[in-house]
């Protein structure tokens, strides 16, 4: 302890800091921690850098993974702004007068998301798309009352697992709707049979898990007229795709990582959550509202807090408090940097690149891509006639990482993988992939 500490102890009439822990009974007292001694900053930086150097990053290895998180180029503006410590070292803006900066940034984030997806209200984030789906199912039950929630069978399996855990306390039963074997879109006949009066909500993704556009959102809405319609989106694709709000959606969720956030080995991510105005008081999560200060100036503050845990306790809409606010700010900076024109060009470019890459792969003997017809966004399925595992290993041996093997996702896709591409891939990355695929298949 330093001299200030000694004086503080003296002020308290104590001799040692141990006296402040005297109320901890001897039976539970610890004599220090079983950890190594501390290191200097320089040593820590060297150690952590060295441990992580065993990773092969996407810089070192052309990688064609997507499946929910996407490696888009992040303009330097995003890091420059989110590195400002007025933002990143702040707490949740409970004290509005001192926090107008992040409050306005988050209100603008809500506004940008609403514009992308055609909704009136958005919260400042959920943890990721999978927990957003869980919260959306609970919200559908709150709105409608029915005990069944329908989801596509073809969605990422981890989303199903998370949803099952979120649904545990609500009595919700989750039922899966298969995809149409020829189109890869939701099978509308199965859906028709499944929509009963006790269905509180229907969830559909656009693009689908297979990367192709889900073209029948309006038909889904027409079939499930009475249920809460939840649509899962890729926010970049939304720049060129009609907003779900125009197609009858009540709630829109999605993975917002693609909007200017690094992939970070899967976290932190950004759960997008938006809804129609009439459902606002049933929505989970933190929201920022518009108001005035005592002088009549425009101001922002957290609002509708009576839905939240610190007021409503066990009757709260959700337990969430700490969320992904800084990523929300980052994605707002990203959208503001690209603007409408930049976002739309980027989205169109992704479609072109996926189309061209699929064609190149389809030209390789033994491979088929995409497995479903129709326009895809930036992801598509690849089938290897001789089994996919061998292809996956063959690519790795050649310093290329292929798509996501689908064996764990859907058993009938044991010989297939999901490939994603973005503007980030250089022509030589694509050439390396195609060459490596040729060799791996041969």
């Amino acid at each position: 302890m330093d001299s200030d500490a000694d004086e503080m102890l003296r002020a308290l009439g104590l001799r040692s800091v141990d006296d402040l822990f005297a109320d901890i009974p001897a039976t539970v007292r610890l004599d220090g921690l079983d950890l190594p001694e501390g290191l200097s900053e320089q040593e820590v930086v060297a150690r952590v850098t060295s441990i992580l150097s065993a990773n092969r990053s996407m810089d070192a290895m052309p990688t064609f993974l997507g499946g929910g998180v996407y490696d888009h180029y992040v303009p330097a503006t995003v890091r420059a702004i989110t590195s400002r410590s007025e933002f990143y070292t702040a707490y949740t803006p409970y004290q509005a007068e001192l926090s107008q900066g992040i409050l306005q940034s988050l209100w603008e984030y809500q506004s940008l998301i609403c514009e992308l997806v055609g909704m009136d209200a958005a919260n400042t984030s959920m943890y990721d798309a999978s927990t957003a789906l869980g919260e959306a199912a609970l919200m559908a039950k709150r709105i409608h009352g029915g005990r069944v929630f329908l989801i596509p069978r073809a969605i990422r399996w981890n989303r199903k697992s998370v949803l099952a855990n979120y649904a545990i306390g609500s009595g919700l039963e989750i039922r899966e709707i298969d995809y149409d074997r020829t189109t890869g879109m939701l099978d509308l006949d199965t859906l028709r049979d499944a929509v009963t009066p006790d269905v509180c909500g229907v969830y559909v993704e656009n693009p689908t898990f297979f990367g192709r556009f889900e073209e029948e959102l309006d038909e889904v809405r027409a079939i499930a007229t009475d249920a809460v319609f939840v649509v899962g989106v890729n926010p970049i694709a939304q720049a060129i795709v009609r907003p779900p709000g125009d197609l009858g959606a009540d709630i829109v969720i999605g993975e917002g990582q693609a909007l200017g956030n690094p992939v970070n080995f899967g976290g932190p991510l950004l759960g997008i959550f938006a809804c129609r105005q009439e459902h606002v008081r049933k929505m989970p999560g933190r929201v920022i509202g518009l108001t005035k200060d005592a002088h009549g100036h425009r101001a922002f503050c957290m609002t509708l807090q009576t839905r939240e845990q610190h007021i409503r306790r066990e009757k709260a809409m959700s337990n969430i408090c700490t969320n992904e606010a800084l990523l929300a700010v980052g994605s707002a900076v990203y959208m503001a940097t690209l603007g409408s024109t930049g976002l739309r060009r980027l989205a169109a470019e992704n479609v072109c690149r996926a189309r061209d890459l699929a064609a190149a792969i389809d030209g390789i003997d033994g491979l088929e891509a995409p497995m479903f017809p129709g326009a895809h966004f930036n992801e598509f399925t690849v089938r290897a006639r001789g089994g996919y595992e061998r292809v996956h290993e063959g690519l790795l041996a050649r310093g290329v990482h292929g798509g996501l093997p689908l064996k764990r996702q859907l058993p009938e896709f044991a010989d297939a993988a999901l490939y994603a591409t973005t503007e980030r891939h250089r022509p030589e990355d694509v050439q390396r992939l195609v060459a490596a695929l040729r060799e791996a298949v041969a």
């Binding site: 308290l12 079983d34 007068e97 900066g101 992308l116 899967g266």
Partner: protein, 482 residues
């Protein structure tokens, strides 16, 4: 110290002048039925975007701006080297679906962090998956449920002290459990009330120790015996972990499950509301139920183990908030065993010193030393027409972030103060002197505060009465505030 926060009459992004957007030809790219013709997001110059956000950042306040004694939030300094490490391409540019052979570095870091956290908490196993403290509670309760069901028991009640964090109630409610509140006696859990409430329906008792009053529950082992005798589990809310590092541990205190708030105790920045990280530790008998994948190590290679038949499954996509986990790991390496203990020593000393400095300024109910935080009451100022909210707002005028207010509800007009170990005595003295000045100030001046922030007192009632949550909604609803 005088303080004036910046104020810009900064327009919304949507109010800025935007040149006509260039058209993008989507023919053949998007099916006609789905094609979008317009996206109403302004096209701005990069400089205008950067200025917009730079101005907004200047109308914000972080730990780097000044003292931030938010009780139970542990607003300590966030070391800069940890930020640099989190920006390494071997962190940012690694995809979570990459083949195990290509992510050995990430898996090793996660594995070592799990071990370190388990040792700090006296637990046997840790999952790093939960994204926040409340998410950790949710996970921990799922584990307790899975454990009881595995033994053929359906338990439906969660017991909570009346001083518990609001998230405890909400996590239990979200999972459909009934909440039974246990009253406090002398600022501690009433053992008799706990004994009367614990029975074969009890799933778990959730407790933070020290509790939210900053008081150590010294009869914790008796409390644990009552809970365990009823066949229930004891859950440690790690929000107040900053008080006990190296002095005791949840494991030592007989807790079965614990969540950590890495964004509190282990210094990852709060990000203006997130991201955080809320790992969960358990005793060995609960290990089989942890979320998958579990990170396994066979002596040479790290592996993601999904073959966990009793696992509760997943609580989020992938493995946790990795970029935050890197920062927390670096923080633990930097401090080591002695350093972490010194963190709690300083945090507790700072809290008790500040409390001492406020003698005669504000009442602090309940006697005895505190741990890392204490709860003062402004109820004595009611005669002057000054409430806690007024003091909180007035503190801003001097460049301080206010403490947590009106929590715990047990204390009338509460101000919950947690200085953390990062603060110097000089800062604590200045804060105490400022509070001493405020309680004697003209009540009208205090009630009119803040005067030096970007905006004056904000009308929260208006915001809630007429919720306008987006520019789109504002266009149709024409709110009075616009």
């Amino acid at each position: 110290m005088t303080f004036r926060q910046a104020y810009y009459d900064e327009p919304l992004l949507f109010e800025k002048r935007s040149p006509r957007e260039a058209s993008v030809d989507l023919a053949g790219l998007v099916p006609p039925k789905l094609r979008r013709e317009r996206l109403a997001i302004p096209d701005l110059t990069e400089q205008d975007v950067v200025r917009h956000y730079t101005r907004l950042s200047q109308m914000n306040f972080g730990v780097d701006s000044g003292f931030y004694p938010l009780g139970s939030c542990t607003m300590k300094y966030n070391p800069k080297f940890a930020e640099e490490l989190a920006g390494l391409p071997t962190v940012t540019r690694v995809h979570p679906d990459q083949d195990e052979s290509t992510v050995q570095g990430s898996l090793r870091l996660l594995h070592e962090l799990q071990i370190a956290l388990a040792r700090i908490a006296g637990m046997d196993a840790v999952t790093l998956q939960p994204a926040a403290g409340a998410h950790g509670e949710f996970t921990g309760l799922l584990l307790a449920r899975a454990y009881h069901r595995d033994r053929g028991e359906e338990r439906t009640q969660v017991l909570l002290p009346d001083t518990a964090h609001g998230t405890n109630f909400a996590s239990a409610g979200m999972l459909g459990f009934d909440v039974v509140t246990i009253p406090s006696k002398d600022g501690r859990v009433d053992l008799k009330a706990l004994g009367a409430a614990a029975n074969e329906k009890t799933l778990a008792f959730m407790l933070t120790n020290p509790n939210t009053l900053g008081i150590f529950e010294e009869h914790v082992l008796e409390l644990a015996r009552i809970v365990h005798d009823a066949g229930a589990l004891l859950y440690y809310d790690g929000a107040n972990f900053n008080a006990i590092l190296g002095r005791t541990s949840p494991g030592k205190m007989d807790f079965d499950i614990v969540h950590f708030n890495l964004h509190k105790t282990f210094s990852t920045p709060h990000g203006g509301g997130g991201p955080g990280a809320g790992p969960v530790g358990v005793k060995a008998f609960l290990q089989a139920f942890l979320p998958y994948p579990v990170i396994a190590f066979d002596g040479t290679r790290y592996r993601l183990d999904y073959d966990r038949p009793k696992s509760i499954g997943k609580v989020r996509a992938w493995y946790g908030n990795f970029a935050l986990l890197v920062r927390a790991y670096a923080y633990i390496l930097r401090h080591g065993a002695e350093g972490l203990r010194a963190v709690s020593d300083h945090a507790v000393l700072n809290a008790n010193y500040l409390r001492h400095r406020l003698d005669g300024v504000l009442d602090v109910p309940f006697s005895g030393f505190r741990k890392h935080e204490f709860v003062a009451s402004a109820a004595g100022l009611a005669g002057r027409g000054v409430r806690t909210v007024d003091i909180a707002k007035r503190l801003m005028d001097f460049g301080f972030h206010p403490p947590t207010v009106y929590f715990p509800q047990l204390v009338e007009e509460a101000l919950m103060i947690e200085p953390t170990e990062s603060e110097t005595r000089e800062t604590l003295d200045r804060f105490a002197d400022t509070l001493a000045r405020i309680v004697k100030e003209d009540p009208a001046l205090v009630r009119g505060a803040p005067h030096n922030t970007s905006v004056a007192r904000v009308d929260e009632v208006l915001a809630a009465r007429e919720p306008v949550l987006s520019w789109r909604a504002a266009q149709t609803r024409k709110p009075t505030a616009l």
